[in-house]
């Protein structure tokens, strides 16, 4: 038992590295907020664009969404981080992580919001158009709000799953929670920083997971 405590809950080690892990938590939170806000906005924008049903545009959007949903994010992160500098595009590891996860979330959000748009009853479109709204206004003010409301549960789940992937930044040296913890662990030769990281992630994400459970009960339309 003593050995267990010394290995995973060593107070001296915990105290020494807690500030670093807090710094990491700040990076994780900032990254997550950036990814969620811009990723969902871009995905919803693409879904709207697809509603105009312009052949080549829709085709390009579908290909983008399929490819970015099929490829493991870590593959994309490594490709961007190690590949782009060779063709003259040098991005910081933070930027690479942000861009890749933002685009992955956008791909999933596009598919989810698009499903909501197609599930909105036709009568809503017709009623909106017949009051004199243009196609764009009908889409933005009538259909999109209903579509988004319908897909809040899957969108939340996906957003949580992808923000958790900010931990992948450790592989390319982003000093987020996991990055700080693995560095601290190798300096201290003790597993306590990893325990602290696990606790930090649970503190950050458990409320979101529980909230998503509540949202699911609240927003899932009856019969779905």
């Amino acid at each position: 038992m003593d050995r267990f405590l010394d290995t995973f809950f060593n107070m001296a080690v915990l105290g020494r590295y807690a500030p670093a892990i807090l710094d990491g938590a700040l990076i994780t939170v900032v990254l997550s907020l950036l990814i969620v806000s811009t990723g969902i906005a871009l995905g919803a924008g693409l879904a709207c664009l697809r509603a105009y049903r312009i052949g080549p545009v829709s085709f390009a959007i579908v290909i983008f969404a399929d490819v970015w949903r099929a490829l493991p994010p870590l593959v994309l992160i490594l490709l961007a981080f190690f590949g782009l500098p060779n063709v003259g595009v040098v991005l910081s590891s933070f930027m690479v992580l942000y861009l890749v996860l933002m685009l992955v979330l956008a791909a999933f959000a596009e598919e989810i919001v698009w499903a909501g748009i197609t599930a909105t009853p036709k009568g809503q479109w017709e009623a909106a158009r017949s009051t004199g709204l243009s196609f764009t206004r009908a889409l933005v003010f009538v259909v999109l709000p209903q579509a988004v409301r319908m897909v809040i549960p899957p969108l939340t789940n996906r957003a949580i799953a992808i923000t958790k992937m900010t931990a992948l930044g450790m592989v390319i040296g982003v000093p987020d929670i996991l990055g700080q913890a693995t560095t601290a662990q190798s300096f201290s030769a003790n597993a306590s920083p990893l325990t602290l990281a696990a606790i930090a992630y649970v503190i950050l994400f458990l409320p979101l997971v529980i909230a998503s459970r509540w949202l699911e009960a609240r927003f899932t339309p009856p019969g779905a």
Binding site: R3, F4, T7, F8, D66, V67, R69, A70, L71, P72, P73, L74, V75, L76, L78, L79, F82, G83, N86, V87, G88, E111, A115, A119, I160, A161, K164, M165, T166, A167, L168, M170, V171, I177, L178, T182, Q185, A189, N190, A191, L194, T195, A197, A198, Y201, V202, L204, F205, L206, L208, V209, I210, R213
Partner: protein
Amino acid sequence: MDALVEQFFNLEIMAKALPLVLKGLGITLLICAVVIPLGLAGGLLAALGSVSRNRALRWISIGFVDVFRALPPLVLLIFIYAGLPFAGLSLSPFVAVIIGFFLNNSAYFAEILRAGLLSVPKGQIEAARSTGLGRAQTLIWVTLPQAVRNVLPDLLSNVVEVVKLTSLASVVSLGEMLHAAGLVRSITYNASPLVLAAGLYLVLLWPLIRVIGRFERRITH
């Protein structure tokens, strides 16, 4: 443009990387073959617990599911692979990956199966019990088949996520596909092996994503 092709689509380097990357693909598939059935089994147990009438069992199951859905899989994997040895428990990369992904997947499969179990009307269970089926028989022959059918698209999308998840095993140097491709990249200073691996992931997963899309449309319309 030439630089782009040279750096990302260098056929010569891809050809050299191919045998190692294919061997990695074999390990990727092996991980999936072990983790998917294990995750489904663990997920089913946790899902049954989470809809049980026993309050303690229900809270333990939901707690398990929520905590492992909150922990990023890479954190779990590194904790198991790099943390446990300090306590004298050294695991091979393969075993660490299997345990980490099993815990992570069980939680996700449990949440999906739970939704499936709750989607089966109570009358089905009552009818089954009234024909003389026992509780286990009702579960196996009546509840589960309907539950699984109702959440089949979600189960399949989680399978896609598991295949993508295996790429994390490269971080603990298990020679799966991404690790193999990364190795060749670091020797050749060229990103083409990573593009090759990405292409193989696409070949593997794109058809599955399309099939899931079709399933989802059939169920919602």
